[in-house]
Symmetry: C2
Subunit: 483 residues, 2 copies
């Protein structure tokens, strides 16, 4: 177990100050070129040394015929070469004194016996030169806090709090856009590939010590070092939640994982047991993994599992109640005091049970301020779940009807949404109770964006909101078990 | 059972040629005004007669002091008045000879004994004048094929093939935006409210005969006429799939539904039995209900449950295999013939198992044309599931790298996406096998839009894609059982 982040073998990979680049050229069709272009587009501040046999300049950078010619031994070598020449390049890096490498090239253990032999040789080189290698058959690392991104996809999002250690590179690159749609981003994300030298456990330990990481996500096809994994998880979970999606449990997932990274999947029960014993929260899909990360990273842990639902209309309230029931959450019984306080704010056609149903109230101030305040003070409720609905077309129509000109309607709308969201989030800050939103608005709807920006997760549909809330409750239980 | 759509008591509600409007005014803060504005904004072609005690004109339409003054008995009365005066207005409509009404006003059975009494009186008026009433406590009807929308939210989407009969008005209005995000839309959607006269079964029968409706969605809090429901479902299912989300099965959902529309929910097993016996496909949430409608309305039914997965990269392939396994789908074993045909198209780092993994191929033509063609011809596969990934930023970078100017990059990108999607959809048309896409792109990503536009459903994440595919397989089984 590492004691500080600087002890991690991944430290100078995720925080490289300079890079040698193998396999990038001026040919836009090559994968290596794309990776280098991503590094450049990401605004990496350090020196980059492309190594190329023929070109003098690669992507407007001075290129070197041989790594031995470099003026220094850079922190990291990024290697995107044909399989057959990878080991030679690593050997050269070792001689130069480069201590860290990301090997993107595939064609190793995952393709069969011949590849496995090459991978064996790669490990020998790593041992000989004490070289920390991520991969092969990986996409490396994205650390937006340091403008580092060795993948081929530019990171659209802002630096965030989700740490990822993944046995699939796609769940790094494809998630840049996906997460930024929710206003989320990676703290640091690792694609571990075949794990010839560094593995998912090393990355998890790094993320455990990473100050930007509030929650750790693991995409697992198979764990090689079971004991080390459990030891690391046990040390991290009391301070930082871990969410895992294990794909190898089903027969189909197992077979697919094997051909992907050559990982050996174990029986589902084995993994389920490991997760339960260490307090790792298990997700049933990639989407769910990041949903869980969202609430776990953004919200305080609740005291219990009692939810109060606030809604504009009956159907979404009933659907949320049903989803909470299925997810193992309880609905709070509201106290007499709360019912009395709510009275003046609920129209005669509304309902002061739980869900609290405001039936299409047009009093947005109460909806975003008075009512959440009352419900968060309810001693029988641990969590507030709120249905967010504010059709832009209707808001714009009201403004136009009030004589507001077309030009200022959008601006006025924004001000309304901002002020609603601001009132709402004030309660989150004051109370140590989690607020979870759900909606059927499209991602990107103004009211959602404004609320999300202020730290309240908003899910599409009650089912996802309830499942994520249940994950938050599960983590709270793990923490209580620890003490 | 009705024999044609014109026999339905809902026909002149969903296809009204003229309306009397009660409760709309020139006050933008009133709900009735919003409903009328939505009707107008929707481009309703028929005559509208606002009834208002004081105003001469309402929203630029000639208004009438009393419904008796109208120059004709319009097809439909839309009533958005205070609860206490609703029955008087209905009585007046009856005397005028109006045979259809939508009562939006709430405050009836759902609020307790006094409201139940008012609702009893409403039913008597309906019986006396042989008046077909939708509601009370509902949002009426949206039939975009006839520019009819009596709800307070404008319908952003285009007319579509999903018919909805819903015990929640929100699942009409909130779904306009939601469905249009997937390129979907309603054929006709009914909000049934308290079902004093017309109920969810009547609406289901209407949709069964509606030529625009390819699939029927039911949001159910409680069925009052169990036998009629089953009879209608049995008659419809062999010709048109029905998907139901029943919210009343859990204790929490049941309590919430009761306060919403006064519906009496029954035990979950009872409903589950009804659904199974009649061949209705059951969904676990509103989102899932519309996911199921998408595949059922857009795709041919498969011969069996054997899926072949085509992917760019290992992780999404493994996640799809896992999701298929959990959803009860099987993975095809590819025949020798298929493996041989695939050979030339799969890079050495790829995998020709199932999932078929093209590992970041840049050969988009094969990905969208040759490979799907080969996989659809595989006799061991009933369904093709494809991972769609085409980061816009990378495509734009390639184009810029090829010397394309910034201005034409977007246009060129669109052409590429269009041609890929076009090739892809040609296979769907030629083969009678369903193709289901999944992605982690945000809704609205170009490649998704182009593919969706051509009739291939694309889901966010493998889990939703697999669950929807399983619903398609379940419907195919129902059809086989029938014959």
């Amino acid at each position: 177990m590492i004691k500080s982040i600087k002890e991690s073998p991944l430290y100078r990979i995720a925080n490289a100050r300079s890079m040698a680049f193998f396999g990038a050229s001026n040919n836009i069709a090559s994968m290596g070129t794309h990776l280098l272009m991503t590094v450049l587009a990401g605004g990496f501040k350090g020196k980059i040394y492309p190594v190329h046999r023929k070109e003098n300049r690669v992507q407007n950078l001075k290129a070197y015929v041989h790594v031995a010619d470099l003026p220094e031994a850079p922190d990291l070598a990024v290697i995107v070469l044909p399989t057959s020449v990878v080991n030679q390049a690593l050997e050269d890096c070792g001689r130069k004194g480069i201590k860290q490498a990301v090997v993107v090239s595939g064609g190793f253990k995952e393709v069969g016996d011949q590849g496995a032999e090459l991978e064996g040789a790669l490990k020998e080189i790593a041992a000989l030169y004490d070289m920390k290698i991520l991969g092969p058959n990986c996409l490396g690392v994205a650390n937006p806090h340091r403008n580092i991104n060795t993948t081929f996809v530019p990171n659209e999002g802002t630096p965030g709090f989700v740490g990822l250690s993944s046995q699939s590179g796609s769940f790094v690159t494809q998630m840049f856009e996906y997460l930024s749609g929710f206003g989320l981003g990676f703290s640091t994300a690792f694609s571990v590939g075949n794990e010839a030298v560094l593995d998912i456990v090393d990355c998890m330990e790094y993320l455990g010590k990473c100050p930007h990481t509030k929650v750790i996500a693991l995409y697992i096809e198979g764990i090689r070092r079971g004991r080390a994994f459990m030891e690391a998880a046990r040390a991290i979970v009391p301070h930082k939640p871990i969410v895992a999606y294990y794909v190898g449990g089903s027969k189909a997932g197992k077979a697919a994982g094997l051909s992907h990274t050559g990982a050996m999947a174990g029986p589902d029960e084995l993994y389920d047991g490991m997760f339960r014993q260490t307090g790792i929260i298990r997700a049933g899909s990639v989407e769910e993994m990041f949903d869980f990360c969202w609430v776990l990273g953004a919200l305080p842990t609740p005291e219990g599992n009692r939810v109060v639902i606030q809604t504009h209309s009956g159907g979404p309230g009933a659907a949320a109640a049903d989803a909470c029931g299925r997810a193992g959450l309880a609905l709070s019984t509201l106290s007499q005091e709360t019912l009395e306080k709510l009275g003046p704010f609920v129209p005669s056609t509304g309902s002061v049970g739980n869900p609290v149903d405001l039936t299409f109230t047009k009093d947005y101030h109460s909806f975003f301020s008075n009512i959440p305040q009352i419900l968060l003070a309810e001693e029988n409720a641990d969590i507030l779940m709120v249905y967010l609905m504010s059709p832009q077309s209707v808001v714009e129509r009201v403004l136009k009807g009030m004589g507001v000109s077309d030009e200022v309607v959008l601006e006025q709308g924004r001000i309304i949404y901002e002020s609603n969201a601001e009132q709402f989030s004030q309660h989150l800050k004051r109370q140590q109770k989690p607020i979870v939103g759900y909606t059927f608005h499209r991602p990107g709807a103004q009211i959602m964006n404004e609320v999300i920006k202020r730290g309240v997760p908003v899910f599409q549909g009650a089912e996802r909101a309830a499942r994520a809330t249940a994950a938050l409750v599960a983590y709270a239980k793990v923490l209580n078990r620890e003490t």
